[in-house]
Each structure stands twice: as C-alpha cells, then as structure tokens.
Symmetry: C2
Subunit: 293 residues, 2 copies
C-alpha cells in the first residue's frame, strides 16, 4: 500500500525515464531540454495520482500498465498546458512559477514540445501494455477520446475560438475529460470495467475547474505560480463570474461530497475515499478549508 | 488485387469516415471544419498508399488493420504539414493550392487541428486492431517512433531551431522516418516482421526529399500548389544546394534503383516493384522523366 508521497516519487521516476529515452541522440538539444522543462518539477500530479489510486483500489494486477497510464495522462496534460500558453492562445508568461515553454525556448520549440509529449504519451502506453495488449485498445480509446475531438481537451480549447460558448460543455471538455480518463484508465489498467468510474472522474474534474476559477480571483500570483485575474482580463467563462465567490465555494462543496459518494464498491474503497478527501481539501481556498465534507 | 486509383478511393473513404466521427457534436465548428480542410482534397497520399501496397504484397490477412495504419500515417503527415506551415515555422500562405490552415481558420485553430490529427491517428489505429491487439503494440511503437522525439518528425523539425544542423540526419528524421513507418507498418499489419522493410521505406523517403528539393527550384508555384524557392529564401538545407540540379537528379536516380532492388521476397513482390516504379516516375522532374530506371 502506497501513500501519496510515495506515489509521486515513483511517478516522477517513471516520467524521468520516459523523457530520458526521448532525449537521446539524435534529438535536437533545445527540443530535448524543453520536454523536460514542460514536465518537471511539475504541479500536483493530480490526474496520474488519481489513476494510480483507482488502479490500486480496483486491485491492480500489473503495475506497469497502471504506471504507463498515469504517465500518459500527465504527458497529455503537460502538452495541453504548453500549447494553451502559446502567444496565439493565452500568451502566458509564467507557468508553475517559471517562464512558460515558449518564453524559455521560443515558439517553434513549444509547438513541437507539445506534439512530442502527445506522441510520447501513446508510445509509453503501448510499451507498458506488452504483456496484456488487449487492455491497450481500451486505454488508447479512453486517452484519445479525452484529449482530441470531439470529446476531449482539443475540442474544449477549440471552443475558445468560437463566438458563442456553452460554459458547462466547455469545462467538461477542457478539464473534465482528462479526469474521467484518469479514473477510467485506472480501472482498465486493473482489468476492470471503466463505466462505474466515470462519475468520480467527472465530479473531480468539475471540482478542479471551480477551484481553479476561485484561485484566479482569491489567490496571489506568487501562490499560484502563474498570473491571476486572467479570466476577467480575457473575458473567459468562469464559475466565479457565474455564481459569485460564495456561490462557487458552495458548488465546490457539493461536487466534492458527490464525488466521494460516487466511488464504486471495490477492494480498496475506504482508502480511496480517504485519498479523494485529502485531495479535495487542497482544492478549497484556504479561508474556506473547514467547509469541506 | 487493387490498382492505385482504387487504393486512393478506399483510403479517402476511410479518412472521411474517421473525420466524420471526429466532427460530431460537441466539436467546435471551426476546429471540425479545419481537420477536414487539412486532410482533403489531399496530396498524392504516397505514405498510406505505400503502406497498403506493402501490406498487400506481404499477403495481408486483415484489411481493417492495414487501412487503419494507412489512415494513421496520412493523419500524422497532415498534422505535421499544418504545424510546419504556422507563422512561427515557415509562415506559409499556400498548401496544396489553397490557403494554409492558419490562414483559413486562424492560428489557435491550426495548432489544435494538428494536435487533434495526431491524437486521431492513434485512436484510429487502436480501433482498427480490435481483433488482433498484439499487432497494435508494434504499430504504435513504429508510428510514435517515426513521428516524435528522438527519431521522428518532431525531432527533424526541431533541428530547424538549432544553430548547427546535420543535413542527412535532418532529412532522415523530418521526411524519411514516416516512409520507413509506412513500409514497416504495412508489413506488421499483415503479421510480418518489419525489419526487412526498413530499407525500402528509407530509400523512398530519401528520394522523396531530393525530389521535393528539386521541385522547389525547377517548378512553378502553380504546379506545386505552394510557394517555390523557399529553401533558398529561408536558407534551408537542400540537396540542390549541396549537389546542384544535375547532381541531385543523378542522386534521385540511384536512390530509386536501390529502393526497387531492396524489396524483400514476398508473395506480391512483382506487383509491388511495379507500383514503386510508377510512383518513382512521378518523383522525377518532367524534363528528366526518361532518366528513371
């Protein structure tokens, strides 16, 4: 049984190994450095941690598959951040407290770093499934659905270029889809049916988006590691714009309770509830931390 | 037994079907239109045709796998063109005789169209391998190796951002790698060992690059469907810069003869030689067409 710190250490080791393979000769030095820069030191690693936790709760029988699913999720997430920060999108200066990839390495390298990370995600997944190829089919279907068009991150980001936008569909695609992939890939990695795990992923994704919107108005730039107040500046849809700060906190509370209630019966159910509860506390703004669950 | 026209028709049908699935609700309208725009009407479809031809020559036993490999190769190729045309790379106005994707739909949509096509390639491959998942592992390894870092298209494009460049490695990565994937994925689709097919792919890829460099100096913009004279304008490495027009034609001739000689013994060897010879003729500049083989 692993604690979160232990999960993070193993995950970072697996990410490092994957990137080390990608950076060998004949990789161009700037591109090689940029993929590392985009993935390390990393954020909270929420999606891969969720995937590994669900796999463990389901009684994981092949750690290589669960780990390659977790790595793939984090690589796709990092790729989406790199492209989302580009000048033609948000033109962000900072990400996780340091200059964004295009500010550090130039725009061409940032486009290619995102592309490379997407490809690496699928490559790594295939390598992890050598002993059980039948699971790979399902894992790739889930990962591609959650990241591409019409149901994934690309679709969500694409809505930002349209004149009219549906707030709930937009959030579901841009953020929610990869959380659903995280719980479902965790289940499939352990040989289980993904369907009962959709709701947990969807609710955590929704909570995460509301928490992000709250951070954008209630935190300082220093604490978040990227510029705040961006939603209002870019007239972007946000739960705080829609419900107000207090309304958004109530909503976050409801979603998180629902997430925990949705966890299916499984061998590691109690422990998984505990992990989700701990992660949920970190999503609340500090002044409202006592309002969780 | 299928002729090239027949191969193209079936391939376009398969590409259409894949894109139709990608464009369903809730895909944003501009992004949905852009993926279609990036893939149709298309160029010569050389890579997927090569893949299907090799699969047929090897005695293909599951057309769904060969077709999904061919579709995946074409989607990755189209994605690389969309990103390569972006303002931060070549800033191209025209591609295949019409405005490039970012000129037609904007830069954000073009970045996402490329990402979406990459993801679709892997998704489509997984769907084609449902009956033989063990082949999927090998196919994904080949496709990702040929498109990512350190051995694929991203690596090749990344070398354009470095101060010093190795011409032959650059071409091999940026163009050759996907041709090697085409022949190898054709063989694996038919349940055969990919190794004996590496040379054919490598030689055709090399020939294709030399032919492209020749077109850049010997053809008009109208015939090529994109601006010519770009290599000199952008001080880009080129076989014509290195060997001169006549030297480059000699080199093309040698490479193509070597390609045909490299075809491994297989059930459809004679027919495959014929197909490669026909494609080779189209690579020669018209004034030197009689110098092929």
């Amino acid at each position: 049984m692993r604690n979160i710190r232990n999960i993070h250490e193993r995950l970072n080791l697996a990410l490092s190994k994957t990137l080390k393979d990608a950076k060998q000769t004949p990789a161009p030095p700037k591109l090689a450095a940029s993929v590392d820069y985009a993935v390390f030191p990393g954020g909270a690693r929420v999606r891969p941690t969720l995937c590994l936790s669900v796999a463990e709760a389901c009684g994981e029988d092949d750690y290589a598959i669960a780990e390659s699913s977790a790595v793939a999720l984090e690589l796709i997430h990092c790729a989406s951040l790199v492209h989302d920060d580009l000048p033609c999108f948000d033109d962000s200066e900072l990400r996780r407290g340091k200059p964004t990839v295009h500010r550090a390495f130039g725009e061409t390298v940032a486009v290619l770093a995102g592309d490379s990370l997407i490809i690496l995600a699928f490559e790594n997944l295939a390598k992890g499934c050598e002993k059980k190829p039948e699971r790979l089919i399902q894992l790739i279907k889930i990962l591609s659905k959650s990241s591409g068009v019409p149901f994934g991150i690309c679709s969500g980001q694409g809505w930002e270029s349209e004149n009219e936008i549906n707030l709930s569909a937009y959030h579901q695609l841009k953020t929610g889809s990869l959380f659903v992939a995280a719980t479902c890939m965790g289940a499939v990695s352990a040989g289980e049916d993904p369907e009962p795990w959709v709701e947990l992923g969807a609710r955590i994704g929704e909570a995460f988006q509301v928490a992000d919107d709250l951070k954008d108005v209630t935190s300082s730039e220093k604490n978040v590691g990227k510029p705040t107040g961006q939603d209002a500046k870019n007239s972007r849809p946000s739960a705080v714009n829609e419900y107000g700060v207090d309304g958004a906190i109530n909503r976050l509370q409801d979603i998180l309770s629902g997430a925990i209630a949705s966890i299916p019966a499984c061998p590691g159910e109690a422990r998984l509830c505990d992990i989700v509860r701990k992660q949920a506390k970190q999503l609340m703004p500090s002044f409202a931390a006592d309002r969780v669950l």
